[in-house]
Amino acid sequence: MLFKDLPIQKKLMGVIILISGIVLLVTCAAFFTYEVFTFRQTTTRQLSTLGEIIATNSTAALVFDDQKNANEILAALKAERHITLAGLYNKEGKLFAQYPAATLPGAFPPLPGKEGYRFENSYLLGFQPVTQGGKHLGTLYLKSDMNAMYERLWLYSGITVLVIIVSFLLAYVLSKALQKRISIPILSLAETAKAISDRQDYSVRATKLSNDELGALTDALNQMLTQIQKQNLEITSFNQQLEQKVTERTNELQLANKELESFTYSVSHDLRAPLRGINSYTKILEEDYVDKLDNDGKKIIEVILRSSKRMGELIDDLLAFSRLGRKEVTRNDIHMDALVKGVTDDFMLISVKNNIEINIQPLLPAVGDQALVKQVWVNLISNAIKYAGKKTKTLIEIGSYPKENRNVYYVKDNGVGFDMKYYAKLFGVFQRLHSNEEFEGTGVGLAITHRIIQKHHGEVWAESKLNEGATFYFSLQTI
């Protein structure tokens, strides 16, 4: 586990203990070094002092060649526990006296060495010249073990280890207690934040535990919460208002739709009833009283029948058109090739004309309501056939091409076409660019086409020149 991923409590404690540990270790090391250094210095000074005393005392023994006395003087070193060897060389460099008395002479350096003291293999040893009145009389050799220092260092080590253990324990206990002062507000803040995000309850407030940066943070959090709460309230009330408005509008719309539906039904029923009367009874007249009518009467009956039939068609188209407004558009993949093939085949079957040539290019598939799109094709192809004009051969071309993110389909004919200056009226309901005598029709077909494509979020448009044919386009979403 990485340090940065540790809980803040452990981090704080770790830092405190680490710092105190480092400080302690550095202090102890410095103390230790100082002690070793001081002790060596002190030991050297003590030994050198001792050497000087012994040297001074042993001058007479050397001068008067009193070996016994010299040995006695050295024997006094017994009091100095750490002196392991002492030797007195006469001025010829020969060992004159020694301590301890039983030591083999081989333990001593054969000749006195350079004046001064040095540490050698955990011993402090040195040579001290013995002089009297500026005269060199001999050399004193002293060897002291460092046991005293080691003893002391061991003692210090023990104390140090003890101090470190105690300090660590103290640091642990103190940091455990003290880190709470820092970590508890943080943890409490974190807990509050978690509770808020878990429960989405912005009415919760963090408790301020101190006046430091954490306190400021707590204040900031609480302020933020107040704002969120306020904004939430605003959003909620706004949403409610919106929902209420939507509900109101929906209700209004539903009501309007219902009214429209009943209106449509009324039109369907109420307009049809008298029409039915006109039509049916005129037919009866034609069937049962034809022998009582002259030619004019018969013609009038024909006109009545034709007019009532036309009115029936108008009503049907009007109903179909208004029905489109309510119809939900389904969205399916449409295989245009098959669809158009079916439509044209039907037309070829029922068409009374036999000079029609329909040329269908491979068509791109699209997405939409198959029944409605089929209606579009029916309308456009029937228009192309209807408005063929007096041409000897009716040529109809059907094709498609992709444009931007849509597919464009077209039906091109070589018929009578129309004047582009009336283009604005082309897709209007009951708008016609030809008289009924010229071409029969209600003027609803293109309006329905327009409506269907609109419902598919597509576009429909046309190009034409009078007597030079027309091309009708519509675009649909690609698959």
Binding site: E261, Y265, S268, H269, R272, A273, R276, G277, N279, S280, Y281, I284, L319, R323
Partner: protein, 145 residues
């Protein structure tokens, strides 16, 4: 009129429409036992042998009812509901008469148990088609009578 052996009951508020229907059926020789009532209320009286028709035998139900939907007082849907809601009458086949096949009530009528529908004016072809759906071949076979 003998209301006991009625084969076809026509419920139609418009006299014009009713006459057209009767004329069409008569012309095809299947109108021997036609009976026409002018609205839903009268239709219910006839079917359930009540009111003016209380003397009619309840057991002699019409073989077929042609029922218009748009009628004053009691409309066709209500009449249908009553017929199909009563065990004694619910087996009588009902053919709905409608001005348009777009009529939203048609769906509702099928749900209530209507057996077929015919778009007005009732021409013989439409009638035959509807009756065929019911399996009433005897009516058509009978037309020569």
């Amino acid at each position: 009129m003998d209301t006991h052996a009625i084969e076809i009951l026509i419920v139609e508020d418009s006299m014009d429409d009713a006459n057209l229907t009767i004329r069409s059926l008569k012309k095809n020789n299947i109108a021997n036992n036609l009976y026409h009532v002018k609205d839903g209320a009268e239709a219910l009286d006839f079917i359930f042998a009540q009111g003016n028709y209380s003397s009619r035998s309840k057991s002699a139900n019409p073989k077929l009812i042609l029922l218009d939907l748009k009628m004053p007082k009691v409309n066709g849907v209500e009449v249908l509901e009553k017929i199909k809601g009563n065990p004694a009458t619910k087996t009588i086949p009902v053919v709905i008469l409608t001005s348009s096949q777009e009529d939203p009530d048609i769906k509702r009528c099928y749900e209530l148990g209507a057996n077929s529908y015919v778009t007005k004016p009732v021409e013989f072809e439409g009638f035959v088609k509807a009756v065929k759906e019911l399996g009433f071949y005897w009516m058509i076979l009978n037309k020569a009578l």
